[in-house]
């Protein structure tokens, strides 16, 4: 599984990245977390508001920092 955190490095993007790291560790997923900070690349996912989360090239969340539980739900849904 490849997880991408989209955002220009703002505080909220770092929070989302930390949540994703924690959720991956807790669920024991075999996943790689990448940061995408380049604007053209961010926009290629159709995202205008950061932070955003892309799992296996599918956009699942944009424009807010979700709760930890929501990240877990999103990861579980994509892992199936």
């Amino acid at each position: 599984m490849i997880i991408k955190v989209l955002g220009s490095g703002c505080a909220n993007c770092q929070k989302l990245e930390a949540l994703a790291n924690k959720a991956v560790a807790e669920l024991g997923l075999d996943a790689q977390i990448l940061k995408v900070t380049d604007y053209p690349e961010i926009m290629a996912y159709g995202v205008m508001s950061t932070p955003a989360l892309v799992i296996d090239e599918k956009l699942v969340l944009a424009g807010r920092v979700p709760s930890y539980d929501e990240v877990v739900t999103l990861l579980k849904r994509s892992a199936q």
């Binding site: 604007y39 926009m43 159709g46 205008m48 944009a62 424009g63 709760s67 929501e70």
Partner: protein, 322 residues
């Protein structure tokens, strides 16, 4: 009845019975003011931020962009300014938002109406103005903010400054992210609750410091003390208020309780409104972020038109609100 009356009773009881301060003393007045205003402002913030988070969950920059693409001058500017109030957007997303708008055919002037309205008509400012000054001043503030956002967007649109945007912006093509799953109600509520915690957790020190300074002034500085310096008679008060407001960006929560005391001491209302708008609407960090997509000339025009508009509002209300 004033819903905050029980808080006033509590503050009075603590100040005069528990601490045993004299009702006529300056220290008593200051302490009472502080003990009443801090819980009142924090409760107002928590309640309204919760509902703002729920309302905003129905909007997104992506939907707003779709709605505004291919909109026209005037009508588009009005819609953009109104959507700027409710669309969730933080200045750290200013660059992707700007590129996304331009790419989908939102006219430059309409994009600017959105960019001006979004920070200027700020939910924290609205709540605090309402709580401390009442609905008339709050309504004036919102209408003035909309007028500035709409007219500055129209001016930028009329000037045809498309070439003052960095060229690479026009080459970026946006992908289609597909439809995101709508948040469920439990998710919306959890998000709103967490958002209240995050915002109140971040701004409470500013609120306490702002009210603390205000409380000291409330007790120790005579009323009408500021009339001479910041009253309607001083023509320099408005530009000075705007200049002072710029570096205070994003500290609306600490600034407004302080401002309510400045009014009590004689600062003119137009000057107060201009100051507030400068605090939330003229943001140096946002200007620096926007440098990635705008040439310096266009940033200067954007800032200049905004500053002039804010000062015009200040002078207008100083003349009208006597």
């Amino acid at each position: 009845m004033d819903p905050f009356y029980p808080l006033q009773l509590l503050a009075d009881w603590l100040t005069y019975s528990v601490f045993g301060l004299d009702k006529a003393s300056r220290l008593g007045l200051s302490v009472d003011f502080f003990l009443f205003d801090v819980p009142k402002v924090l409760i107002l913030l928590a309640v309204v931020i919760f509902f703002v988070a729920i309302i905003r969950s129905f909007f997104s920059p992506e939907k707003t962009r779709k709605f505004l693409s291919h909109s026209k001058l005037y009508g588009g500017n009005i819609a953009a300014a109104l959507l700027g109030i409710v669309t969730p957007f933080c200045s750290c997303s200013a660059v992707p938002l700007f590129i996304g708008f331009v790419e989908s055919g939102v006219p430059l002037g309409v994009t600017f109406s959105f960019l001006v309205a979004s920070p200027m008509i700020n939910e924290i400012a609205i709540i605090l103005l309402f709580g401390l000054f009442g609905w008339k001043i709050t309504a004036l503030y919102i209408v003035s903010g909309l007028v500035i956002a709409i007219t500055s967007g129209i001016i930028i649109g009329k000037l045809g400054l498309e070439s003052w945007v960095e060229e690479y912006v026009y080459q970026i093509r946006m992908g289609d992210g597909g439809e995101l799953a709508e948040q469920t109600w439990p998710e919306k509520l959890t998000y709103a609750r967490d958002y209240v915690g995050e915002i109140v957790g971040k701004v409470w020190p500013y609120v306490v410091v702002g009210i603390g300074i205000g409380a000291v002034m409330h007790g120790y500085i005579p009323n009408d003390f500021l009339v001479k310096y910041a009253g309607p008679g001083n023509p320099f008060a408005v530009p000075i208020a705007v200049l002072v407001g710029v570096p205070l960006y994003s500290n609306a929560a600490g600034v407004i309780p302080l401002v309510s005391v400045l009014v009590e001491k004689g600062m003119a209302m137009g000057t107060v409104l201009a100051f507030m708008m400068a605090v939330v609407g003229l943001s140096l960090p946002e200007a620096i972020i926007l440098r990635k997509v705008l040439k310096p000339r266009l940033i200067a025009v954007y800032f200049g038109i905004n500053a002039v508009g804010i000062m015009a509002i200040g002078y207008l209300f100083n003349a009208v609100l006597r």
